[in-house]
C-alpha cells in the first residue's frame, strides 16, 4: 500500500477507558509517540501475529473475509523492537481491531443500516484497504441511503446524472457546433468532388468563435479557460509525494484527468464560488478512497461517485470559500470566532496566551485547517483517519473539525505557552507529528462551546 505503512484502526488510550465495549480489552498504555499515528503499532502487530501463529491465532485470521488484509499484514512486517512489553495487550489490540472490522462488515451488510452505530464505529477509525471505508464514507455523507434496496436505484440515477452533466458542460465548442448538424447536405452535394468556389453559409446571428455574446458557447468556453488553467496548476501540486497523484505515469494522469473533470464541473455548476485553490486537496482523499475501493461494482463509476460525495462534503463548508461572505454569519470569520470560543471554554489559559499574549489569532493558522479540512497538516494516512472521525460525528463535520483543531492546540499546549508570536506561528503552521488516536480522543472529550446552538449528548 502507500509507503509501506499499514494502519490498523486501533483505539489507543492513555490511562482512560473507552466508552465503547472494546475499551475493556485494551489495557496497554501508549506514549505519545513522535510518529505517524499508530502506524508503528501496526508493525508490532505483524510481529505478534507471527509469534502467536502456533497458538491457533492464525485460524482466527484465516476466517477473516478480507484476505487482502491478511496478506498485507504478513508482507509488510518490519522488524522492530517491541515498544510496549505487554504481549497480551498487543494481541488484544489485534483482536479488537479484528472484531471491529467484522462488526463493521456486519453493520454494512444489514438491509437497513444503523447510521448511528456506523458513526460510532467510524469515529474509532475505519480499516484501510478493501471496500469498507469507501462504503462507509458514502453512507456517512448521505450519498447512499440507509436502506440497502434503494442503493441500486440511487447509484444508477446519480451516475446517469453525472454522465449527462459531463456531456453538457465539458464539451469543446467545435464538437458542440458540429452536433447541431450545422450544414445542409443536399445543397453541398453539387460541390462534392467538383472544383470551384466553396459554399458559404451566413451565420452572423449564430455562434462563432469570436462571439462576445453571453449566450455563445464559445464565449463561455473562453471564460472558463482561466479557471481550467488554475485547476491544472493545482492538480500538478497535489500530494507530490504520492505516485497516485503525481508523476507522469498513465495511472496518475488518469487520476488527474478525472479530478480535473470533477473540479471543472463543480466550478461550472457553482458560478458564485467557481474554483478556489484548495478544493483539489479536499477532493483528493475522497477520490483516493473510492479509487482504491476493491468492490468491482463501483470500479467504473469512481468519478461520478467522487463528484457527488465531494459536493456533499463541500456543501457544509462552501461558504468558507466565498470571499463576499467572509464577514457574514456563515463565513469563515464567524467560524473562526466560534473556534476561539471553543478554545476559551476549554482552556482559558491557553486561549488568553494565544489571543493576547502572543497575539496569534486564529486567522493565521486555523484558516487553512478549517477550509481545507486539515488535509494540509498531516500526511495522507493520518488524513484518512481524521476524516473517518469527522464523517462519523453525529453533529456534523464542522463540529468535529473545530474540536480537532482545538485538540491540536491543546496537545502542544506546553510548547505554545512557552513560545512567542514567531515561534507559535511557526509551530502551528507546520504542525508536528503526533499520535493521532490521542489527538482524536482529546477532541472527543472536549466540552462543547455553549455559545453555539448545538447541544452535546
Amino acid at each position: 500500500m502507500l509507503k509501506g505503512k499499514l494502519k490498523l484502526p486501533v483505539p489507543e488510550k492513555a490511562l482512560r477507558v473507552f466508552p465503547d465495549r472494546l475499551g475493556s480489552l485494551v489495557a496497554g498504555f501508549d506514549d505519545k509517540e513522535e510518529d505517524n499515528g499508530g502506524s508503528d503499532v501496526a508493525f508490532e502487530h505483524g510481529e505478534e501475529l507471527e509469534t502467536f501463529q502456533p497458538n491457533g491465532f492464525k485460524s482466527d485470521r484465516a476466517s477473516d473475509d478480507d484476505e487482502k488484509f491478511q496478506e498485507e499484514l504478513e508482507v509488510k512486517v518490519r522488524p522492530r523492537p517491541d515498544k510496549d512489553g505487554a504481549g497480551p495487550a498487543s494481541v488484544s489490540r489485534v483482536i479488537a481491531a479484528d472484531e471491529k472490522r467484522s462488526d463493521l462488515e456486519y453493520e454494512l451488510s444489514r438491509p437497513e443500516i444503523n447510521l448511528e452505530k456506523l458513526q460510532r464505529i467510524a469515529s474509532t477509525g475505519l480499516p484501510d484497504g478493501g471496500r469498507l471505508r469507501a462504503m462507509a464514507w458514502k453512507l456517512l455523507l448521505g450519498y447512499l441511503p440507509p436502506s440497502r434496496d434503494l442503493w441500486e436505484k440511487e447509484l444508477t440515477e446519480n451516475r446517469k446524472k453525472y454522465a449527462n452533466l459531463k456531456e453538457e458542460l465539458l464539451q469543446s465548442p467545435s464538437k458542440f457546433t458540429r452536433k447541431d448538424g450545422a450544414f445542409s447536405p443536399d445543397e453541398q452535394h453539387v460541390d462534392r468532388d467538383m472544383d470551384g468556389p466553396l459554399q458559404r453559409q451566413e451565420i452572423s446571428q449564430e455562434d462563432h468563435p469570436l462571439s462576445l455574446g453571453k449566450a455563445s458557447v464559445w464565449h463561455e468556453y473562453f471564460q472558463h479557460t482561466e479557471i481550467v488553467e488554475q485547476i491544472d496548476r493545482d492538480l500538478q501540486r497535489t500530494h507530490p509525494d504520492m505516485k497516485f497523484f503525481s508523476g507522469d505515469s498513465s495511472f496518475s494522469r488518469k487520476n488527474k484527468e478525472a479530478m480535473r473533470n470533477i473540479l471543472i464541473l463543480f466550478a461550472k455548476l457553482n458560478p458564485a464560488i467557481r474554483y478556489v485553490q484548495g478544493m483539489n486537496e479536499v477532493l483528493a482523499p475522497i477520490y483516493f478512497v473510492f479509487t482504491t475501493d476493491t468492490d468491482e461494482q463501483n470500479a467504473g463509476n469512481v468519478e461520478a461517485d467522487s463528484f457527488s460525495c465531494f459536493v456533499r462534503l463541500l456543501s457544509d463548508s462552501v461558504d468558507h470559500f466565498c470571499q463576499q461572505l467572509d464577514n457574514s454569519a456563515v463565513g469563515i470569520l464567524s467560524t473562526l470566532s466560534r473556534f476561539s470560543e471553543l478554545l476559551k471554554a476549554n482552556d482559558e489559559e491557553l486561549w488568553w496566551h494565544l489571543e493576547f499574549t502572543s497575539k496569534v489569532r486564529p486567522q493565521f493558522y486555523a484558516f487553512r485547517w478549517i477550509t481545507l479540512l486539515l488535509t494540509q497538516e498531516f500526511n495522507f494516512q493520518v488524513i484518512l483517519r481524521i476524516w473517518d472521525s469527522l464523517l462519523g460525528n453525529p453533529f456534523g463535520v464542522q463540529d468535529m473539525l473545530l474540536r480537532v483543531c482545538c485538540a491540536m492546540l491543546l496537545c502542544v499546549k506546553s510548547r505554545l505557552l512557552s513560545g512567542d508570536f514567531v515561534a507559535n506561528l511557526k509551530l502551528l503552521q507546520h504542525y508536528p507529528d503526533i499520535n493521532i488516536e490521542y489527538l482524536l480522543q482529546v477532541a472527543q472529550d472536549l466540552s462543547p462551546d455553549t455559545s453555539s446552538f448545538r447541544l452535546s449528548l
Partner: protein
C-alpha cells in the same frame, strides 16, 4: 480544436490607419492559437499588435512590407493539415487559380493562404483549397474596387476544418461559415 487566424494586406499606415473598431473588439488575446499573415502589414507596430494577440505568428513578405526579413513563402502543419502561406504578388497573373495551384503543388500543402487581391475568396481547386482572407483593414487596391474589410478564422479539429469568414459590410460584421473535411488521401471532401 485549434483556432488559426488568417489575415493580411493591412497596409498600415499608408492606405489605412488601423483595423476597424468592430474587428478589434472581437480580436482579444487568449482565444487564438496561431496567426498566419499573408503580408503587407506594413510596419513593425502592426507586427507587435499581432504578437499580443497570439505569440505564434507566421508572416510572409508582401511588396510593401518594411521588414525585409520575412520569408517569401512559409509552410506549417497544424493538426492533420498542411498550410501554405504566401503573399501572392509573386504569382502571376494575380489571383489566378491555376497559377496558385502550381504554387500549392510546389509547397505540397492542403490549404494555401494568399493575399494581394484584397478580396476574400475560397476555392477548391485541383485537390486543395485556396483561401484569400482579403484585406483586414479594407485598404484600397489597384485590382479590386470596393474593398470590404475581411479576415478568416479557421477551427481545425482533427480531419475537419470549419472556416469562419468575418466581413465588415456597411458597418456591420457579417460572419459566414465554410465546412470541409480531409480524407486520408490528398483529396479534400466538402460536406
Amino acid at each position: 480544436m485549434v483556432l488559426v487566424l488568417a489575415l493580411g494586406d493591412l497596409h498600415v499606415p499608408h492606405r489605412a490607419p488601423d483595423l476597424p473598431a468592430k474587428f478589434k473588439s472581437m480580436l482579444v488575446p487568449g482565444k487564438i492559437q496561431h496567426i498566419i499573415c499573408t503580408g503587407n502589414l506594413c510596419i513593425k507596430e502592426v507586427h507587435d499588435y499581432l504578437k499580443t494577440l497570439c505569440p505564434d505568428l507566421h508572416i510572409t513578405r508582401g511588396e510593401y512590407d518594411e521588414e525585409t526579413r520575412y520569408p517569401e513563402t512559409k509552410t506549417l502543419t497544424i493538426g492533420q493539415f498542411k498550410l501554405g502561406l504566401c503573399h501572392g504578388h509573386q504569382v502571376i497573373p494575380w489571383g489566378d487559380l491555376d497559377s496558385l495551384a502550381m504554387l500549392q503543388r510546389q509547397l505540397d500543402v492542403d490549404i494555401l493562404v494568399t493575399g494581394h487581391t484584397h478580396q476574400f475568396t475560397a476555392y477548391k481547386h485541383e485537390g486543395g483549397v485556396v483561401i484569400n482572407p482579403g484585406s483586414a483593414t479594407g485598404a484600397y487596391s489597384s485590382i479590386t474596387y470596393d474593398v470590404n474589410p475581411s479576415f478568416v478564422l479557421m477551427d481545425i479539429d482533427g480531419l475537419r476544418v470549419v472556416v469562419y469568414v468575418y466581413e465588415l459590410i456597411d458597418g456591420e460584421v457579417k460572419v459566414d461559415k465554410i465546412d470541409f473535411k480531409k480524407t486520408t488521401t490528398v483529396n479534400l471532401v466538402f460536406l
